[in-house]
Symmetry: C3
Amino acid sequence: MQGACDAPLTRAGAALHNVSMRSYRKELWFNTDSRVALVNITPQVQEALRASGVQEGLVLVNAMHITASVFINDDESGLHQDYRDWLEQLAPHEPVSKYRHNVGEDNADAHMKRQIMGREVVVAVTDGKLDFGPWEQIFYGEFDGGRRKRALVKIIGE
Amino acid sequence: MQGACDAPLTRAGAALHNVSMRSYRKELWFNTDSRVALVNITPQVQEALRASGVQEGLVLVNAMHITASVFINDDESGLHQDYRDWLEQLAPHEPVSKYRHNVGEDNADAHMKRQIMGREVVVAVTDGKLDFGPWEQIFYGEFDGGRRKRALVKIIGE
Amino acid sequence: MQGACDAPLTRAGAALHNVSMRSYRKELWFNTDSRVALVNITPQVQEALRASGVQEGLVLVNAMHITASVFINDDESGLHQDYRDWLEQLAPHEPVSKYRHNVGEDNADAHMKRQIMGREVVVAVTDGKLDFGPWEQIFYGEFDGGRRKRALVKIIGE
């Protein structure tokens, strides 16, 4: 009987070890001086991943505000200036009067810029690391700054 | 012996409780009167989350058709009119003749509007709730309506 | 006693069977002849899903390079030509001199085209299959080709 009881003990232990799903949540806060800003948050996401202990899984990073983005691209200052000019051309801030979203707001353009750049990224976790190509970096894109806003890091895996 | 057998029972129970991965799937159906429509589907996604029983995980919501979007933004009617005008400017429906996707179709512009607004959103689930910032709402964006189309809600977690 | 011991055995077995989280990773490699190319990668993603053995979960497919996209849309050649024309209009390659991202690069436009089309898709897995609507196909969108580049397939589930 002892042996018969030991078997499930071992197998239950294996189940606990192999399949525990972990989840981890962290908010990143921002308060940019300028209306538009692109902030590299890769180090903060890497730190959250380390803290989570997740080895295999997915990381979701999303803006929690609807006039901001989280996106992945290159950390090169010339390109960032190009992005700012291009977004301003596709969705100009001025004249504010042409927009109908003026219910105590002057940020309709920021809602549009955010749709082009995207709300969120999902990144693979492999061997406890962000599974990135050679130049991938995660950015918080602020399009209506000058106040406290947040991004969410949520990690799911084992 | 009874005690020796109780131990694995308890541990197996803990394993079952802690690590069971749940998945849940639901289709949302639409048939909008107009060619373009933005429909707030947050309540339906919240209901799906409740039905799933998932406490920690991820919700994927995606259009199942390629001329429609699922996106997260503000539920404000002036902004929605701004979005419609802006998308029409970036990817005009008329003249249809300028597009090559006219193989029994007149909806090339809808395929483009959908790329700007995005196919899908991934939302964190924390404590059994959509882990949202203050103004985040989920929308189904229809750009070629007047027929039955679907969005998918898929929830993964525990 | 035998019965009391059999119970946990069965329950532990159920735990092992039901909850093992699987993860699977595969890189897809490309080297397109032309600067811009749209490549249907649905068969490769389906093959990765089969190899993973995952029945319920999520598939992430993302470009690992920041001048390329992974997106879901229609496999229709007229539409693809429309996409190419439209992206060239929204983010023209020429004149290269108008961009500031010219630090040994002439591909600022490719970084912009990729933001419109998106870096990644997340697809539901149901009953071991990509949970797709009638016309959904996955594409690798190359906007700065002529060299070896990669997309990542990461599958999480059970």
